[in-house]
Assembly symmetry: C2
Homo-oligomer: 317 residues x 2
């Protein structure tokens, strides 16, 4: 198949590209090189079935040309910086809503029939229903990031109803694994490399979250290359949660350090941080998919990968 992957140089995108090439597909990466990096695809660059285009998806006309003809678009390009939303209150909207609209219009113009989209468990805001199923009570948004992904989901759903495309929307928990570049594991490893005796932690350490290994995530993404229904919406996560303290224990043990922990305090790490994220994955389990990595394995493997690829610490400073 002819597959377009937006954000294909990013953490999840590049893992998807590698898998799609292994599966024999032709892959065209569209990426703005802002947080993505060709180094993520160093094992694949030069592959005869891979092309990489530098494109700004907030430019409608460029996006129409860049998407061109294809069988499917995996639209993973996004500003995934939940924490810093209020430092630039328009960025989530531009990168996540305007870009998605441009991709959808490009698909309409080019008659590309299918999209798979990476949404987020953040669209459930601070829902009272945990584990949270896809049909949880209509949530309210607690972050600019969540609001932008909700808006993008709504656009995709309207384009499905309009008969333009079929779609699968995945709502992810946080993802870990090789090529990870953004989030608490990178923050902690960086701090501990600089000073193994002290670790600053946002919140009070009791924030409870779920983490999925990127390989399990990619398993799910490639299962949806072809449509089973016009519109499908699935949570992607694992049937377990950990606290920030658990994660700290595994990371420090892996690094062989025993830092003093300094907690910033409060139940939230930042404005809009949901102190409890745990998605109900019953629906996705009812298909052939199931996660094969424990959260502990994911945290440990991610720590090892960062230690072996410290260029990622330089890039995300």
């Amino acid at each position: 198949m002819q597959v377009v992957v937006t954000g294909g140089l990013g953490f999840i995108g590049s893992n998807l590209v590698s898998r799609l090439l292994q599966l024999g597909h032709d892959v065209r990466v569209l990426d703005n090189f802002s947080t993505g990096h060709e180094r993520n695809l160093e094992s694949d660059v030069g592959h005869s079935r891979l092309t990489i285009d530098r494109v700004d998806l907030t430019d409608a006309a460029l996006t129409v040309r860049a998407v061109g003809s294809a069988d499917i678009v995996y639209h993973l390009a996004a500003n995934a910086d939940v924490r810093d939303g209020w430092k630039h209150p328009r960025k989530d909207h531009e990168q996540n809503v305007v870009a998605t609209h441009n991709v959808l219009e490009a698909m309409r113009v080019n008659s590309v029939p299918r999209i798979v989209f990476s949404s987020t468990g953040s669209v459930y805001g601070a829902t009272a229903v945990v584990p949270t199923p896809e049909d949880a009570p209509f949530p309210t948004q607690t972050s600019l990031y969540g609001a932008s992904k909700l808006a993008a989901e709504g656009l995709i759903q309207a384009y499905v109803e309009g008969g333009v495309i079929s779609a699968t929307i995945f709502r992810f928990v946080s993802i870990l694994g090789p090529r990870y570049s953004h989030g608490h594991v990178v923050d902690f490893v960086r701090q501990l490399l600089e000073n193994p005796k002290q670790l600053h932690v946002l919140g009070d350490g009791t924030q409870t979250k779920s983490y999925l290994h990127v390989a399990d995530c990619i398993d799910a993404l490639v299962m949806h290359l072809t449509p089973s229904q016009k519109l499908a919406i699935f949570n992607l996560g694992v049937d377990a949660t950990i606290t920030v303290r658990d994660s700290i224990g595994w990371i420090t043990s892996e690094m062989g350090v025993s830092p003093e922990l300094q907690f910033a305090g409060g139940s939230q790490g930042w404005i809009g941080d949901n102190p409890l994220i745990h998605l109900d994955i019953t629906a996705m389990r009812a298909t052939r998919w199931q996660p094969r990595h424990t959260i502990r394995d994911s945290v440990v493997e991610t720590t090892r990968w960062i230690l072996a690829n410290q260029w990622v610490l330089e890039r995300t400073k």
Copy 2:
């Protein structure tokens, strides 16, 4: 209070402006004059406490200046043309999402502490839960209009969580009454004035909907001038539904005509038309509010108003 009303020359906006002036408030209307009309405020134009500014709210810088200082913004400006979304697939987004974001940023910059927003029952898409409460299962979007209002709601909610504003979001059914200019009553009256013997009807006549009188709507809006909580979300409608056939009966009876009915067929009037809209208004009823007009009264009064104000038919051709 210093009140800004965006879309204050429109159907609902102008009714709100008249009421706010009666209540003694200072009112500043921001309107782009695209579907709104000064004629809607002819009884109020020249009032010492009313100013009307022509502003394009899709222009961020202009919006910051236009909003200026105020105690509250009633943000009613919108593209409310659900039916023709696919004729211009970016218009709902620009008029309803970008404009709302600009208004929110203008409020942040100008320290305006409160917004009341007109959302829509369309955000519930084709929900299976009818009457539909505010916490219905997380819906999927069926129109570009619904998706745009959902996106605007999400932005407002994120700004509330960010501590920028307090907000009340009202999800309206269709509104009827004086100054009505857009929707099935105007379509039917226009057709019947041109040819009393024949009436073309979208869908099959069984579409079932709920309609609220604009005076009841304004009662609810002005109850929320001051916040009772940081974020409130309320459906606004009535505890009854009618079919398109009911409405046709009342309109033709009021006009003294007996047309042959020609149905386009299908359960939907247009793509994304929800053949059954009935909101649960239990939450709003639990406050002091209740609707005082029946749907029949609203349809009849609207028909009479259009017949007495046929300039509205010219404007909306």
